[in-house]
């Protein structure tokens, strides 16, 4: 159990800045998932917490103690590596017990704890094997056991599941979650798989190019993405984004020549502004005819449960999920309805989300009333 405080942490390799000032706070016992595309600095941040990488500037504190200058072993963190990094010449038991041996734990107690931990991860029958004689999933368990046995304050996971096949990944995901409930140590889990992130996290941190884009509960991040990057990164298929200017007369944005009505609270203050508007495929309503945004079906993806229809609106791709009942084929012309309660509006220059609550309070009524009356 430990709280982790990261204050203005920066990292540069030589002259190349990799992390540009990270401020994060992880509560004690929280399961934090750091999500981001490849190369955004997730591993670097994790390794800075672990002590495997120097902190160029800023501070990291674990349990209120600044650890910048502490050796990894003094920080009380255990880490699970992507390629497991098991000691190839030691048996499973040897791998699990190594940290205890280094710490000088007497042999009888060591053996007791090895047996206990092996039972937790289901490795009791494999204690005498070498890692080379284990399957990928079993190696993964050994790596987990090696971390658990130390009873650390903090667990660090660097994409621990990415070398497993899809089915095993789901199982291990559930096991990690269960394990966390049982041990309730603060856990930081790095991944670029959004399903892992959504299912595991108490707190989701989305990173991009060395910045933190958004921190929050996974559902919050999903429903209220803070930027166009988060909006398009989280959710599959990705959120549709289009650029538009909010028209003064109708308080609507335009897509494919058709007006898209915005929530009145937003529209009023955004008149004449350039925005990016987003809507998730599952919220887009497709109809074969009727008013709405005109689109042409490009191709259809069958997912088993439901279908994704990929369309073109003025040459730009646009996706929607549809049920079994709607019959469309490539080349068909369809019409899209974009319900205003599901629209996400972003500032086009900064890419940040615009919410009614962010807007200046005086914005609505006075300005729009006269405008509306002009013919």
């Amino acid at each position: 159990m430990a709280e982790i405080d990261i204050r203005a942490a920066r990292k540069s390799y030589g002259k190349n800045p990799t992390l540009h000032g990270i401020d994060l706070n992880f509560q004690s016992g929280e399961f934090v998932v750091i999500l981001g595309p490849s190369g955004c600095g997730k591993s670097t941040l994790l390794r800075m917490i672990a002590g495997l990488e120097d902190i160029t500037s800023g501070e990291i504190a674990i349990d209120g103690r600044v650890v910048n200058r502490l050796e990894p072993r003094e920080r009380g963190c255990a880490m699970v590596f992507q390629n497991y990094a098991l000691y190839p010449h030691m048996t499973v038991a040897g791998n699990m017990g190594y940290a205890l041996k280094v710490a000088g734990v007497p042999k009888p107690e060591r053996e007791r704890r090895i047996a206990e931990t092996a039972k937790i991860v289901g490795l009791s029958d494999y204690l005498e094997r070498k890692p080379a004689a284990l399957s990928g999933g079993q190696r993964q368990r050994v790596a987990m056991a090696r971390a658990i046995i130390r009873e650390p304050k903090v667990f660090l996971f660097d994409e621990p599941l990415s070398n497993l096949d899809a089915k095993l990944r789901v199982t291990m995901r559930a096991e990690i979650r269960k394990l966390h409930q049982r041990l309730s140590a603060t856990s930081v889990f790095v991944t670029h798989d959004q399903v892992e992130a959504m299912t595991l996290a108490d707190k989701l941190v989305v990173m991009n190019k060395g910045h933190v884009e958004q921190v929050g509960h996974p559902l919050d991040v999903y429903h209220r993405p803070a930027s166009t990057f988060v909006a398009s990164f989280i959710g599959a298929p990705a959120m549709n984004l289009f650029e538009s200017r909010v028209e003064v007369e109708t308080a609507s944005a335009y897509l494919g020549g058709a007006p898209v009505r915005l929530p009145s609270s937003l529209a009023a203050s955004l008149r004449g502004k350039d925005v990016t508007i987003g809507i998730r495929p599952e919220h887009t309503i497709v109809a074969t005819k009727g008013p709405g945004v005109a689109a042409e079906v490009d191709f259809i993806e069958e997912l088993g449960a439901g279908r994704v229809v990929h369309m073109l609106v003025e040459g730009e791709p646009f996706a929607a999920t549809i049920g079994e009942d709607l019959n469309v084929a490539p080349g068909d012309r369809v019409s899209l309805d974009l319900p205003l309660e599901h629209l996400h509006v972003f500032n086009r220059e900064t890419g940040r989300r615009i919410d009614p609550s962010d807007l200046p309070a005086d914005a609505p009524a006075q300005h729009c009333a006269p405008l509306l009356t002009t013919p």
């Binding site: 880490m79 010449h89 280094v102």
Partner: protein, 295 residues
Amino acid sequence: MIQRTPYADAFTYFVMILGFILLIGPFLVIIAGATQTLQQINSVPFRFMPQGQFLENASAAWARADLARAIGNSFVMAGLITVGKVVLSAMTAFAIVYFRSPLRHFFFWAVFITLMLPLEVRVVPTYNVAADMFEPFRLLIAFVTGIEVSVEWNLLNSYAGLTLPLIATATGTFLYRQFFMTLPDELAEAARMDGSGPVRFFFEMLLPLSRTNMLALTTIMFVYGWNQYLWPLLMVTDPTYKTTMMSLSALVPSENATPDWNVTLAGTLIIMTPPLLVVALLQRWFVRGLVATEK
């Protein structure tokens, strides 16, 4: 691609057998000669059939060249060189691969360059230092302070003199370095997370993992140490420190004496047996350590 045709096959075998004869021929001569009597070995043509005289010849050679002492000395020398090289090169490679010091590349290249400076090239200065260990310091002190200090210490006629100057090895360092570089970084990081310091990591991870390397190196270096000739010749004047390679010359019959080459060959056979045994015993690891890296 390599084509397999009867002609190509026949040619390959021909080359292979020719090479084999070239390699094994001298051995056959030694084995046959060492077992013949004085008359048999001096008869023309030379007969390649081994006879029954080996034990007599061997004991004559043993006594003539004082082989007991020489073999003892050679074992000490080859053994010390082997152990020294295996240990020192493991530690050097460890430092070069795992420590991020700004001088790392400098040291790496310094070691690398010594590949081009085998003992034969630097034999005069090396002898100078071994014959007068404090010479460099004395010169330095004299240069800085102008004071002549007279301290004398040399390594002549000692096991230290026979082995120390030969122990630094670039080959061994490279072998270890290549092996250490194939180990994933995460191994060192996992050990660090588990609380292991560098010394522990070296002894509990790197050494057990590089066992095949170590055995391969042992084989090469033992043969190297055993076969040293020039250096012992320079360092040793006292017959108590004679090595086998030096006693070989004592076995050769002198111009006017009886041409008992059978005794010479028997002595030769004795002298080359230990390295042969070492290679035969360790060859399995020798090949594995040089060719493949165990995962």
